[in-house]
């Protein structure tokens, strides 16, 4: 008999060639509550997804109660006694509470769902979860906190030995959070092992026995919660990691603003954002996941409608313009998810690179393309972003590596000479060499007079590239940090403090 509920041994995981977990080893005692802390992208969720059967490790071993454990899918993990409460809730809002709880395992009699048993067992589970609701309530009527408890009831229906919580409190009010914590205490007293991921350090200190800090896919520190002050946790989380070389600045930002934003708001997402972006400046936006970083970029580019505020590009108001018109005024937006929104993966490299610029390589009035000049422009820009020369223009973008795909997106925008570039996670999921080349390009663009806004989860990337960093928390600007005061710890602390402050007063919770 072993004292460990779960043991991870040398777990490795890569996404598209980029290491996310590096030889992680971690042992979790039976019945303990282990906190997992770490920056965005440190590998916390990936680790949980491996335990929960959503992902398979590339190498390494998992042991569950001393036995080898290789979950092929979430059902398999659930059968082995591991329940996973996700960050974003996975309930079907069109179904009732009872139907959601027993979705995968309806009690039946002769092949027909036995509603009476279904209701009775759901009521028992809801009791355990501390939720006083009729089992037939449709889920769409529930608050996020109640939905969280339904998720837990659903997990309990499988009689789990281990429950994984991935940032369960992000959408809860203070009262709902208290309720959740008392439930967690009850689960602990029943001997269930809990793994709890959170950015809110105070919550970790309150409910966890031990804490493990992840950084760059490795365990940066682990031990009894009492041994870890918040300062120590943050230092461990932020500590210098990858020795990435950032190219030095080529020129200094000019004094005049190219983009002026004032009072920018979108209900429930962003409120009262005000800042200026200068010519030749690289401005960073830091913030935790859900802080409104991407929403801000989408508002600036006109993809979502704003509720209030003004955006001026070179003194001209542009908040009423469509993305297409903003592109014509000199704006560009490299989106966070290049597969979803950046590329036509089945289109050719040439088509993708020239998609935006094609409009300016035509003969009126028929929109006849000047294919020769377009081809030349593509060849020139391919050279500039150093796209792999072995790929032909006619080759589908899908066949390229992540780094080269990202270069295609960048090339597409560089071809129209933007004066304001919004870059959302420009170096996500690409190899170090390509990263470096993209950083160089960003520097050159800034030197050419463009204003550049970089959103990144990697704080090092921001401190290495930016002239100034804005910290976003819960949709508000929480801090502005000049280059002279760059300090990864301060940025992280500020982002987390902002998120905690916004979560504290229950009445200010987002509608």
């Amino acid at each position: 008999m072993t004292a460990f509920a779960i043991e991870l041994q040398d777990i490795d995981k890569r996404f598209f060639g980029v290491p996310v977990l590096r030889k992680i080893s971690l042992s979790i005692f039976c019945g303990e509550t282990l906190g997992l802390a770490g920056e965005n992208g440190a590998g916390k969720s990936t680790l949980m997804n491996i335990l929960g059967g959503n992902l398979q490790p590339d190498s390494g071993r998992l042991l569950l109660a001393g036995q080898p454990y290789r979950p092929r899918n979430p059902q398999h993990a659930a059968k082995a006694g591991i329940a996973f409460i996700h960050q974003e809730l996975n309930l079907f809002s069109n179904l009732s509470v009872a139907e959601n709880v027993f979705l995968t395992d309806f009690p039946t009699r002769a092949g027909i769902v036995d509603r009476r048993v279904l209701r009775r067992r759901t009521r028992e589970l809801l009791d355990q979860a501390g939720l006083d609701l009729p089992p037939d309530t449709p889920v769409h009527r529930l608050s996020s906190g109640q939905r969280q408890l339904v998720e837990i009831a659903k997990a309990l229906s499988l009689d789990p030995k281990v429950i994984l919580f991935d940032e369960p409190t992000t959408s809860l009010t203070q009262r709902e959070k208290e309720h959740l914590f008392s439930l967690i205490a009850r689960l602990r007293s029943r001997g269930i092992t809990l793994i709890y991921i959170s950015h809110v350090l105070a919550d970790l200190s309150r409910i966890c026995d031990r804490v493990a800090v992840l950084r760059d896919g490795q365990v940066a520190g682990i031990g009894p919660m009492a041994d870890f002050s918040h300062d120590r946790l943050i230092t461990l989380m932020a500590g210098r990691s990858l020795d990435l070389q950032f190219p030095p600045p080529i020129s200094a930002p000019a004094p005049e603003a190219v983009l002026e934003v004032d009072g920018l708001s979108r209900r429930g997402r962003i409120s009262g954002i005000r800042f200026q972006l200068h010519r030749g400046e690289i401005l960073g936006i830091a913030g935790l996941m859900g802080s409104g970083r991407t929403e801000l970029a989408r508002l600036l580019f006109g993809l979502d409608r704003l509720c209030a505020g003004s955006i001026r590009l070179e003194r001209q108001p542009i908040q009423h313009l469509s993305p297409r018109q903003r592109i014509a005024r000199g704006m560009a937006f490299l989106t966070e998810d290049r597969r979803e929104e950046g590329l036509c993966l089945d289109g050719s490299i040439g088509e993708n690179i020239s998609l935006v610029a094609a409009a300016s390589h035509t003969r009126r009035p028929l929109g006849w393309l000047r294919l020769d000049s377009l081809r030349q422009a593509v060849a020139m820009i391919r050279d500039r972003v150093r796209l792999t020369p072995t790929a032909r223009d006619s080759q589908p973008v899908r066949t390229l590596s992540g780094g080269n795909q990202q270069k295609v997106v960048l090339a597409k925008w560089l071809l129209v000479h933007p004066r304001v570039l919004l870059l959302d996670e420009p170096a996500r999921g690409i190899d170090v060499g390509a990263k470096h080349e993209i950083y160089n390009l960003i520097r050159q663009l800034a030197a050419g007079g463009a204003g550049i806004l970089i959103i990144s989860s990697e704080i090092e990337e921001l401190t290495g590239l930016c002239d100034r960093i804005l910290v976003l928390a819960s949709g508000r600007l929480h801090d502005e940090i000049p280059k002279t005061a760059f300090d990864p710890e301060r940025i992280l602390r500020s982002a987390m403090a902002g998120a905690a402050a916004a979560a504290a007063p229950p009445n200010s919770a987002l509608p």
Binding site: L355, V356, T362, G367, L371
Partner: protein, 329 residues
């Protein structure tokens, strides 16, 4: 040794044929080669002209359909457009009580009416899909029912005869029909390959989200492609009316699956983003060859449907195989 080498070589050639974007032309050749000796009168010049005459209107509608399929949509209303355009244009100019009977403007007005009906229904489809964001399948299924109902109701399901010769000229003479159809196909080919709109149509079908972020005017693109599709159906109405010398509310009625089948057999993706007019032309030729040759074998209409169904299924299977070969999964 040599035997395995030669089988390996023939496997490689087979793979290349299956992976070719003109697979359907190979299928046409194969079909022709197999049936020419069997089907009486199949390979005679007279029959080949028949094949051409039957193929041209189908080519015109299928060309328009190709554009809509590339955007990731579908237009089921094309056959109702053919019917409505045919009766509207004919009713206007018929010698049996048409408004413009014997007027010198009769022919151009009749032609313009057919085109306008096509463009009008296309515009309605495009507006519903692009601006109201309704699913293309539902929108065009509904407009198909409505407009084919309208065509039959307004004519009391009678055909319209006694049309001026000028109106029948385009469809009546196979060479003029060929010129019209090839002009439409060539124009559509050039729009798709050589114009900005063509780029937008492909991008809209490949990834509408990315297209929007890249400044593609999605709504305009979608509306234009449905409008062009409707217009092409209007042209087809002119050809069919001329060939059969009547305006009829049942023109094109049984052809919907031939139209969409031809486009898809040609290799245009039902999921959008991939397609070409030249491929569609191959698909149209293939289906027309099957139809014609089985007719010559004097199979019944229903037997022909069974064979066509089986052949389309087989072609769809080859298409799946091909995309697996070319993407390497």
């Amino acid at each position: 040794m040599t035997q395995t080498q030669s089988t390996r070589r023939s496997v490689r050639i087979l793979r290349r044929i299956v992976a070719s974007e003109y697979l359907v032309l190979f299928l046409c050749l194969a079909w022709f080669a197999v049936l020419a000796p069997v089907a009486p009168g199949f390979a005679t010049p007279r029959n080949l002209t028949n094949i051409l005459a039957a193929l041209l209107p189908l080519l015109v509608v299928a060309t328009g359909q190709t554009m809509v399929l590339i955007t990731g949509g579908i237009d089921l209303s094309v056959t109702s457009i053919i019917a409505l355009a045919s009766v509207a244009g004919s009713a206007l100019v018929t010698g049996a009580g048409g408004l413009l009977d014997a007027s010198p403007l009769a022919v151009p007005a009749g032609i313009l009416t057919m085109l306008a009906v096509g463009a009008g229904v296309g515009l309605l489809n495009g507006t519903c899909v692009a601006i109201l964001r309704m699913p293309p399948f539902m929108v065009t299924l509904a407009t198909m029912m409505f407009f084919s109902g309208l065509a039959i109701w307004s004519t009391q399901s009678r055909s319209i005869h006694d049309l001026p010769p000028g109106l029948l000229l385009a469809g009546g003479n196979v060479w003029i029909s060929a010129a019209v159809a090839l002009t439409v196909a060539l124009a559509a080919h050039l729009v798709l390959r050589r114009t900005l709109l063509g780029r937008w149509i492909h991008a809209a079908g490949q990834n509408p989200k990315a297209a929007l972020v890249s400044g593609v005017p999605l709504q305009r693109t979608l509306i234009l492609s449905y409008l062009i599709c409707g217009l092409a159906a209007g042209v087809a109405a002119l050809l069919i009316t001329g060939r059969l010398e009547t305006g009829s509310p049942v023109h094109g009625r049984s052809q919907l699956l031939d139209i969409i089948g031809a486009v898809v057999i040609g290799g245009t993706s039902l999921y959008g983003g991939r397609g070409a007019v030249a491929w569609t032309a191959g698909g149209v030729l293939f289906l027309t060859l099957i139809d014609n040759s089985l007719n010559l074998l004097s199979l019944s209409h229903f037997a022909i449907m069974m064979v066509k169904g089986a052949v389309i299924l087989f072609a769809a299977f080859l298409d799946t195989l091909r995309s697996r070969l070319t993407t390497g999964t």
